[in-house]
Symmetry: C2
Subunit: 346 residues, 2 copies
């Protein structure tokens, strides 16, 4: 066994010298290096922006989605959507641990783990796709994957189903970042509050703002708004079209006594919602983009174009203890756990 | 005269309901609304990422670049590069001021102004392209443009040439944001320190970090490194390949006593430098992306992929007083002013 680079550069085929995530192609040879972990994969949870794109391209045809996924992994050595650039995550069982890591990490052969690094940089080999569940962006496979030394993972907890933990861990960065970001008394707008990360962020934001603050959740229609109201995760619920920034601004002002909000958090998975996130925020406020469909230039030029002095942050899927923070929310809120069990597992 | 929307939505043709920046097409009818300003345009300063793309597509042929610019403006009603999404800025003379603004703003007919909102949202009509200066991304034209009520502009100062002011104002957001961001004692890495915004940011960062901090400037070869050393804008200069993150990390560590930096500022204008910006920064540090060539997903997934808990900020071209702050740097530093006069005007 040879020792590989901590970040996995030893597996990059094209272009040489790059890291695995931006690489076009990486090696998915399943013979592990000294400091790698081999995973026997059970499920892939495809990133929401990626799965939406795959579904649209295939016109909803599951067999076409299957072939496309197989083709991408064959070409790239990893499941990285060529259009969105995004990946997702996986769960599986530890199959082999490289010698250099054996006594350094708290993992044993057979442990059930979820990878917390993106599939867009994870060497993957698919033997067979068993099933696709398009409602929860989940793909059941027979296959193997590799975690690098710098790779982050979580042992799956004993007190919940693996599929439930995976659904939550998939968006683990979001609520953990909200915890860092939102302060007591803040007025917070959550765009896409009825989705997976939106629900987690709304719940966490409400905890953080306390009695003096306010969480405003955006939903796209009355059905979703009613669902959101029932959760009680937001102080106010607005119905607005995120592709119409003026509409979002007006509805937000109405819900916030005529004032702009301190923080907007974009949890949508569709493109062109940058200005809807920027416009309702006060000068010197914060816009947090979790959506993988965010365009850097549209955000940068959008803020400049309307003369908004806001801090715009690129959602980082990783922050310290994010897995723990997120799983604890499911333990804390029966409502959240129930929704996740019903909507995001099967 | 009718009154238009503050943000210019009344000029959006496709898609309706969007704001002018993300719109595919806006109206460049030069009959102004009640709350618009008509500008007689002298120069366009094309955004660096956009101009690089245009040059590459045209294989350096100036006539082809001209036709492409004319074609883009005809199709979109604005100079927004369809590939990069970015624009640039303009200078010209005030030609007409809408009734609603006449007594509200400090501008008179004939005043020389620079627009500080992006060309990517500014209604523009080109009569004729007079000259292109590819070394400074500048296009001399006969034409007109329109500023919306929310549009930001700067009257050109008396104590410097218009072309000098424009060159500086084009990157005005960058040094002003560095002033907000960098604290005393910080160790700061500037990627692309030898470029236009990189020089401004290096100079400002060195002012901010004081005696206990350190500014490390990256250059891509010895010629540029030597140029940068002579400016004395950085404490240390490193030569590194920004497409090779491991190389950038190693050189940064060498220049910073083996430590990661607190803040990295990306002033490059080429794609795929996200990880080179993220990798050298300590956990809980800040990565500031000014480059319009930044990919949102590559940054978000890149940080997650290597388990880096950093705050990544999307460079906002606007912050309060940014024009003043930037022009003052030229007044303060003879070195900076001389470089700008030599390299970015003609």
């Amino acid at each position: 066994m040879k020792r590989g680079n901590r970040y996995g550069t030893h597996r990059v085929i094209d272009p040489l010298g790059s890291l695995p995530q931006p690489a076009q192609k990486i090696s998915n040879d399943m013979m592990i290096y000294y400091n790698e972990i081999l995973i026997d994969v059970d499920y892939l949870n495809i990133d929401s922006a990626s799965f939406t794109q795959l579904k649209e391209e295939a016109g909803g045809d599951l067999e076409k989605i299957k072939s496309k996924i197989v083709k991408i992994v064959q070409e790239r050595g990893k499941m990285q959507n060529p259009v969105t650039g995004s990946g997702g995550m996986l769960i599986g069982k530890v199959d082999e641990i490289g010698e250099a890591l054996k006594y350094k990490i708290d993992l044993n052969i057979g442990d059930k783990v979820a990878s917390l690094v993106s599939l867009s940089l994870t060497p993957l080999k698919i033997e067979r796709i068993l099933e696709i569940n398009p409602d929860i962006d989940r793909v059941e496979i027979e296959g193997k994957a590799i975690l690098f030394e710098s790779g982050i993972y979580a042992k799956l907890p004993e007190d919940m189903e693996a599929t439930l933990a995976l659904a939550a861990l998939d968006v683990a960065g979001a609520p953990a970042q909200v915890k860092n970001l939102v302060k007591e008394g803040d007025n917070v707008l959550i765009l896409g509050a009825t989705g997976k990360s939106g629900l987690m962020c709304s719940y966490m934001a409400k905890k953080m703002v306390g009695n003096r603050g306010k969480v405003i959740g955006q939903a796209r229609n009355e059905t979703r708004a009613e669902f959101l109201r029932k959760t009680e995760f937001c102080h106010k619920v607005i119905i607005a079209d995120v592709l119409n920034p003026i509409n979002v601004l007006e509805e937000t002002l109405k819900a916030n006594s005529g004032d702009e909000v301190d923080i907007a958090i974009n949890c949508l998975s569709i493109p062109n919602s940058e200005l809807s996130s920027i416009l309702p925020v006060r000068d010197k406020g914060i816009v947090y983009f979790f959506s993988m469909a965010t365009s850097f230039t549209k955000a940068a030029l959008g803020a400049e174009g309307i003369g908004k002095d806001v801090t715009m942050i690129i959602g980082n899927g990783y922050t310290k203890n994010h897995a723990q923070i997120t799983l604890d929310l499911l333990r804390e809120s029966d409502t959240l756990r129930k929704i996740f069990e019903e909507k995001y597992t099967n």
